[in-house]
Amino acid sequence: MTADRTAWEQHSVARVVSPVRPRKLAKVPFVEMADGRLQGVVSSGSDISRVYVSSVTAGTHTYNCSTNNNRPCGGLYGDMCKHLRSLVDEAVLQYGQDRVAGYLRVELAEGERLSYHLNGGVERTQGAAVFSRFLSHLAYLELPMTTEPIAELHWFPSTGAVG
């Protein structure tokens, strides 16, 4: 172990972050684990120009869902709304259940659905910051391509072929 550990410390090319798994992005275009929350943006099923900002807090498992204009989600009473359930399900697809459950501090038995274990009730949080992070996220796709060689990307090989 010590030898392996030393070797890993002395690699210039070492994988630190696993690439995320591909998933459908139409319903939940953005999900992240940041600021102590699992949070993201869920597209409205009825209005193409409306999105919901949904979040679940790690530890307390309180949650919130509101529109990008900060109006409370109508589906949020007594239990999680469908946006929050979608958010959690898609996060599990993207990062794997272990990582998401670990981040939220939930103990799960095998085969259990994570969203059924998040029962902290509603706690109003500001969605504006998450929405603005989503917009910065999208802005990456608006930048023009470049043909200037980026030598530093030799530290970041594309990886992940299986089979």
Binding site: S12, V20, P22, L25, L138, L141, P144, L153, H154, G163
Partner: protein
């Protein structure tokens, strides 16, 4: 590459390389714990590093910096000098390795001609420098969310400045890894070499003249593709094509690289990344269809980088990369490495390997007449058809010779061979115009077009 060449490459250790890397390791440990709290042992690691470059033009500067930092004066200037000393040491390791490689392969290499310097600096660069300095003072072990977030604003400004894209991509890659590892204090093992590499390079790029300009010399001729190396982190992707340029004026053929890169988000993975590079349709078509390219007046930089202009290229006749490698690779002139890019990680020398066997074992190696080289199966991209199984069944391979953590590695770019008794040929760029494997195409169709979905969201929400 022949068995005897492999033996010459790897059999004998290179004098001084181990010692140089030990000094780097000492510095990296100091950086892991933070230069503000060195203690005696780690302070001497800095002095040792300075001692190793004492006879160079950097000597006085680095020596003084080591003494001052050990005495508690962790200023930006001193930290930068130490990063420069570390960079110089790894540059020397790079040179030793490349020299050995050229001797073993009989590869002729051009010498470096320094382009006129364009040393500019601005506020954005100084913003980056202060963040990098904060990291050095704190050490990786002390990095938390606040320290990582401190670079966010600078990052947004960097990204919007095309001139600084290289630096932006590097800092975003480092910040992303730090963010995912926060709080670093709870990590069992810190990727000390890697993060120090990225940190030191970023610090070099933020110096005046650190981002070498140089507009290059226009070249024309026929470009024969050898293969494509794909680089990727959460927010960037780059396809770097290795090729042979036959100059139109009939001069010696040259080994060149040409790159196209785009920013992206983490949810765009697999073959979808090619859709971010559709601004270079002629190049992508040549990769997908294995065609040569005719180019006219494209700038070639001193480091062998051809600055791609899709409108100055036209598709040529079909050209098999294996034929190109067999016929041309041995005699092409290889480029010099730009001085500030000299680091072992940049070694990526195209080679053709044939007539090997692949013995069973946990780690895949090619056995070439009793000499083995490890195959870097972690460098097979998900955006192409090469898989460990296909590589295992291969008989010929175009690959890049790389070096990391004390050993040579072979990164396959293309293979020919037999899988389940059927002949198979696979190139990294085969899916540049979409996956040709029906299974992959179907899986992709199931998930929808990630790029299109996010662009639609951006179109509707960003401009409100």
């Amino acid at each position: 590459m022949l068995s005897v060449q492999l033996a010459e490459l790897a059999d004998q250790p290179l004098p001084g390389v181990g010692e140089a890397l030990d000094l780097v390791t000492g510095f990296d440990e100091a950086l892991t714990n933070g230069l503000a709290r060195l203690g005696e042992e780690r302070a001497s690691a800095l002095t040792d590093l300075a001692g190793a470059v004492a006879a160079t033009p950097l000597g006085d500067r680095v020596g003084e910096a080591a003494a001052k930092v050990a005495a508690g004066s962790v200023s930006e200037e001193n930290v930068t000098a130490l990063a420069g000393g570390r960079t110089a040491l790894l540059g020397a390791v790079h040179d030793a390795l490349l020299g050995r490689l050229d001797a073993a392969l009989g590869r002729e290499r051009d010498s470096w001609a320094e382009p006129p310097a364009a040393g500019t600096t601005d506020n954005l660069l100084s913003g980056c420098r202060s963040w990098l300095n904060e990291l050095a003072i704190t050490g990786w072990r002390g990095v938390d969310h606040d320290l990582v977030s401190a670079v966010s604003q600078t990052m947004e400004a960097l990204l919007s400045e095309p001139r600084l894209r290289r630096l932006a991509v590097l800092i975003d890659g480092l910040a992303g890894e730090l963010r995912a590892s926060c709080p670093v204090a709870t990590m069992e093992v810190v990727p000390a070499r890697r993060w120090a590499d990225l940190w030191a390079r970023a610090l070099m790029l933020t110096q005046a003249g650190g981002l070498p300009a140089g507009s290059g010399q226009p070249v024309s001729g026929r470009l024969l593709v050898l293969g494509v190396d794909v680089h990727e982190h959460a927010t960037a992707v780059q396809a770097q094509v290795h090729a042979i340029l036959e100059p139109a004026d009939g001069g010696q053929s040259r080994l060149v690289r040409t790159s196209v890169a785009a920013t992206k988000v983490d949810t765009i993975v697999g073959s979808a990344v090619w859709r971010l590079l559709t601004g270079a349709p002629v190049l992508l078509n040549a990769l997908a269809e294995h065609r040569s390219l005719d180019i006219k007046d494209m700038p070639l930089l001193g480091g062998g980088d051809l600055i791609w202009h899709d409108d100055r290229a036209t598709a040529g006749k079909p050209a098999d990369p294996f034929t190109t490698a067999r016929v041309q690779l041995g005699s092409a002139l290889a480029p010099a490495a730009p001085p500030l890019e000299r680091h072992p990680v940049r070694l990526a020398e195209p080679v053709l390997v044939e007539g090997y066997s692949v013995p069973k074992g946990d780690e895949m190696v090619f056995d070439l007449g009793g000499k083995t080289i490890t195959v870097d199966t972690g460098r097979l991209p998900s955006c192409g058809p090469l898989t460990p199984a296909i590589v295992r069944g291969s008989e010929s391979c175009i690959g890049l010779l790389r070096w990391d953590a004390g050993r040579w590695l072979l990164q396959p770019l293309a293979v020919q061979g037999t899988v389940k008794k059927l002949p198979v040929t696979a190139h990294n760029g085969d899916w540049a115009q979409g996956p040709t494997d029906p299974k992959i195409a179907k899986a992709e169709a199931r998930n929808g077009d990630a790029v299109a979905v996010l662009r639609e969201r951006a179109g509707r929400l960003l401009r409100k």
